[in-house]
Amino acid sequence: MNQPVSDMIKIAVASGKGGTGKTYISTNLFYSLSKKNYRVAMVDCDAEAPNAVAFFESEIVGKTEVTQKVPVINSDICTFCGKCHEYCNYNAIFILPPMKIVKVIEDLCHDCGACSVACKSGAISEKPVSLGQVTTFSVKGKPSLLEARINIGVMSPVTVIKAAIKQIDNQSDIAILDSPPGTSCPFVQTAASADYVILVTEPTPFGLSDLKQSVETLKTINKPFGVIINRAGLGNNSVMEYLTHENIQLLLEIPFNKEIAVLYSNGRLVSETNEIFSEQLLSVFENIIENHGNSSN
């Protein structure tokens, strides 16, 4: 919290549901900005299924383990008073005093520390357990792509996502956050750390319903945002009508094109060969900066 205020601008690219082209936008935006020599970093925050790195020729230059602490209860010292169990709001401590059994269910532990505070006998210590990794990749010689990835079986990606965002170096002026799908906690945590959110949607009933939920969420946390409609032409007009009605800024419309879908499936960056698309993304960016740039600091 007491880091110096940087003037880096963070843009999260999100979509209520997955598969609307969120990674397609974020990777191409990242690529187009770096080609114009902007100092830009990208964080793949979709820690349950990260895949941004597949679009770049890259090299691993660093990897850090993300851990949380879980309690270890020494049953020799434990008096089986049950205080820890009472304090734990996540049911992570199982206790059977008559049998002198006390167990920590590590998967349920949120690392809140309440049990350690509760225990007056000094029976609780803590040990770290791994949640996942943050990997730094260098793209074109610059360590600019960070990937958050949780271990299989880990309940929540939030800690790993936050760790990845924290690792963005201060050499960058712009950070693109490829946000996790959904509108719950992981998305909110990612969006909350951004200055602006680009919502990517598709013009279908499912797309509209997810978009509405994302918009509702962003309004509750007061984040400025705009919308990109991907695969325009498939589906219907209801997303457009909604945007007009709600007075939400349409940043860009990308027509549906099966060739793009094929290129994407092969891990190709469309903006590498398609100058027009690259320029469109750059103007989306400039537009955002003009209207929402954090000139305040």
Binding site: G19, Y87, G153, P157, P205
Partner: protein
């Protein structure tokens, strides 16, 4: 029999496939476990018979008339949710995990825990049986617990109405809500796509399914977008001894059907993709476990 349909990544067409499965048979119980982005009700417009409140954790709220600024809560909170702004303790609603610790240690009793009660579970009837869906309020967590609640309701409705098949449309990813969706089901259908990261995602998803010792069936959706990657996926499934349920082509009719509020098999049962879905479904439900 409970059949869960999941996918490592969102947008693989999982919900459209679940919707088709739900409209191929006689009556089924359809549970939308993607509580983060429930969608199926849009196709089926269910008649809601019951609405239940789901408590998605708590948030700490401070009572300034009691707070003496001792900052003890700030020191104890491990979620960086408490800070000092203009000499006032402020609790961030976004960061608070609802652990209750601050409310327990505050010497002035100035912190109250308030339940998040905006999430809902709906259940009712649709044209092919019973339907349940959850709706998590924006930004809530603990969706795994809401998934459990949805599944319990699904079981209850299945027993009460003698509908033996329960179809669970799962959330994307491999985290808590996915685990809640698949634990203890009879079969898991994994929908994947032939993209550069598709196989990696699939491996992770299969990993989680195997961790719980469940039977997995793979569907490659839009296989014709990339024949060579589809072939790779099939090869891997074969080598790893995982059952391929089938492949489905890319078809714009999927979107058209959605716009009309129908499943693809209702929209047009005679087109190639609909016929294929039917074959896949029969294969999945008829195979002995």
């Amino acid at each position: 029999m409970e059949i869960a349909v999941i996918s490592g990544k969102g947008g693989t067409g999982k919900s459209s496939i679940s919707a088709a499965f739900a409209t191929l048979n006689g009556d089924v119980v359809l549970a939308d476990c993607d509580v983060d982005a429930a969608n199926l009700y849009l196709l089926f417009d269910p008649f809601v018979e019951e609405e239940e409140v789901y408590i998605a954790g708590h948030k700490a709220v401070i009572d300034y008339s009691k707070c003496t600024n001792c900052k003890m809560c700030k020191d104890y909170c491990r979620f960086d949710a408490i800070s000092l702004k203009n000499d006032k303790i402020v609790i961030s609603e976004i960061s608070c995990d609802g652990c209750f610790l601050c409310s327990r240690i505050c010497p002035e009793n100035a912190i109250r825990m308030v339940a998040n009660d905006k999430s809902r579970m709906y259940s009712g009837s649709f044209r092919n049986g019973k339907m349940i869906y959850g709706r998590l309020a924006p930004g809530e967590e603990n969706s795994g617990k809401l998934v459990n609640m949805v599944r319990l309701k699904a079981k209850q409705l299945s027993e009460e109405n003698g509908m033996n098949i329960i179809i669970l449309d799962g959330p994307p990813g491999i985290g808590c809500p996915v685990i809640s969706t698949i634990t203890g089901v009879s079969k898991v259908v994994i929908v994947t796509e032939p993209t550069i990261s598709g196989l990696d995602d699939l491996k992770r998803t299969v990993g989680i399914v195997q961790k719980f010792n469940l039977l997995a069936y793979i569907i490659i959706n839009k296989y014709d977008l990339n024949f060579s990657l589809s072939a790779q996926i099939k090869k891997w499934c074969k080598e790893s001894n995982i059952t391929m349920a089938g492949e489905l082509p890319f078809d714009k009719n999927i979107v058209e059907a959605m716009v009309q509020g129908k499943s693809i098999t209702e929209f047009n049962p005679e087109i190639n993709i609909s016929k294929k879905i039917k074959i896949i479904w029969n294969k999945i439900i008829n195979q002995k476990t």
